[in-house]
Amino acid sequence: MRPAIEVKGLQKKYKDQVVLEEVSLGVKPGEVYALTGPNGAGKTTLIRCMTGLAFPTGGEVTILGRDVHTDGPRARANLGAVVEAPAKFYPQFTGSQNLSMHAQLAAMAPGPGGSGGKPKRVSRDRVREVLALLELTRMAERPVGQYSLGQRQRLGVAAAILAEPKVLILDEPTSGLDPLGIGLIHRIVTGLATSGCAVILSTHHLREIATYAHTVGILTGGRMVDSVDLRARQAAYRFRVDDPLGAVQTLSALPFVKKASARTPYAIAHIGGEARVPDALAHLSAAGIRVFEASPDHFDLYEYYRERVEQH
């Protein structure tokens, strides 16, 4: 499947300072891509380049095949983004007025849109719908100046999803939110991804995103040092056995096992899902291997991240 957003060899220099160096990534429709890295790694610059706010020194960014920097309006017709935390709005206007203004601007997209269709008109009902979705109906007619940090952040997400984008980019979307607000954003992001939207979010909350991101990109020193496919990692199960090496040999021979390795006292196997666990246990037992425990082998993203960042 072709990526909805693709970054190729992106470079950004400020005078002699290299901020981004040959950064490449691609996010497919329905994928949630989490961008992480230490402070000053270049995440914000990367997001600014991806959204067309900043111009790269080299490389290119395309959204649904359209270059963000040379064909900006058409590329951004499919983009929803919050590039600052908390999201910024005109404080003198109400939340509803701010969103209506965004709706009017979204309707100014040059036709045909990036997907080949006409630019969408965003109705008042849609404005009300996103306000309700982000639990802001009660605050809708109040000036944004009176909003709390978390309410502004939620309004930012409301503005980003207003025109039903095919690519959503969020910088620290859960910053300043309470646990319920964080849960709400997770549900919205997951829901959008399920409906085919490609989502990129930058975050420091690794354990939080490990539960719903599909891929994690680790950016440090302006370079993308790793890209972790969490789906592959989370399909692994571990078996505490009396003979880990023998268990690995047995498991490797099974057709549904993609990969098996030993981590004494465990044998780790990528078996493709929970339904295969009884089969794996039966085969281990048949091979004379005693199994004391079987459980999902949770990938510790935080530990992995720490190791990767320390290496660079």
Partner: protein, 257 residues
């Protein structure tokens, strides 16, 4: 495009500097009808309501109005940067050039708006002197305030309107310059300061050859009071306005935000 221009005007009317400027334009004309020492200081006695707009225009144009225009136009970008509201605007599927052109149009109309407020407030302030035919001058035509005999109210209105329109034109390059500096510095204070410094430096260039003075904006800040053929200064003002505007559009198109 109209949506963007309307949005810019909504923001303009909400800007503190614009409200303050409007308040100044409303209050300033009241100084003259109420000034007890006008004759002692300026040897002037107001004989017609048509003279009040002139007095207001003369006092506000040389310094205060360029200052107010420079500040508000700089704020049109500077405040958006400090509030962080420019980025969400640019993230929408609109050409950057349309955004800056909408701001330019608003900035270029802004001096005319202030002058319209000043004009209306001056008319209200001059009501007690009447607006009929009178013997004397508006201060903006032949013979200045003394005049050259009887002046009809329609002639007086024509002279005052012409001067206000010329002044609005003379302030356009300043508005465009301020917006250009705002795009360059992305900061209200720096842009306003740079605009005022440019005006002051141009004012100082009176000591340079006359040929240079002829092409300076500041030479024509008194355009409203000039008589005769004004084609050359008007063309120059338009060239400056268009030039600064194009530079602002070009700079904004390629600016990291």
């Amino acid at each position: 495009m109209l949506t963007l221009i309307m949005l810019e005007f909504r923001k303009l009317f909400g800007a503190r500097s614009a409200r303050l400027a409007a308040l100044i334009c409303v209050l300033l004309p009241w100084i003259w009808p109420l000034a007890p020492r006008l004759k002692a200081v300026y040897n002037l006695v107001i004989v017609s309501g048509w003279q009040v707009p002139t007095l207001s225009l003369i006092t506000i144009t040389q310094f205060l109005l360029p200052l107010l225009v420079a500040l508000t136009c700089a704020e049109m970008i500077g405040t958006e940067i400090s509030q962080g509201t420019l980025a969400p605007l640019i993230l929408r599927p609109i050409n950057r050039s349309r955004i800056i052109v909408a701001k330019l149009i608003t900035a270029l109309i802004y001096p005319a708006l202030l002058l319209a407020i000043l004009f209306l407030a001056s008319l209200v302030a001059g009501l007690r002197f009447g607006f009929g035919d009178f013997s004397g001058g508006t201060g903006l035509g032949p013979g200045l305030f003394v005049g050259v005999g009887q002046l009809s109210s329609s002639e007086a209105f024509g002279q005052v309107l012409r001067s206000f329109l010329l002044d609005a034109l003379a302030l356009m390059p300043i508005a465009a310059l301020s917006l250009l500096y705002a795009v360059a510095f992305l900061n209200t204070a720096a842009a306003a300061l740079a605009t005022l410094a440019t005006i002051q430096i141009m004012n100082m260039l009176v000591v340079f050859p006359e040929a240079l003075q002829k092409i300076l904006i500041t030479t024509y800040l008194d355009l409203y009071s000039r008589q005769g053929d004004l084609t050359q200064p008007i063309i120059l003002m338009v060239i400056y306005t268009v030039g600064f505007s194009l530079l602002a559009v070009f700079a904004f198109e390629k600016r990291d935000l």
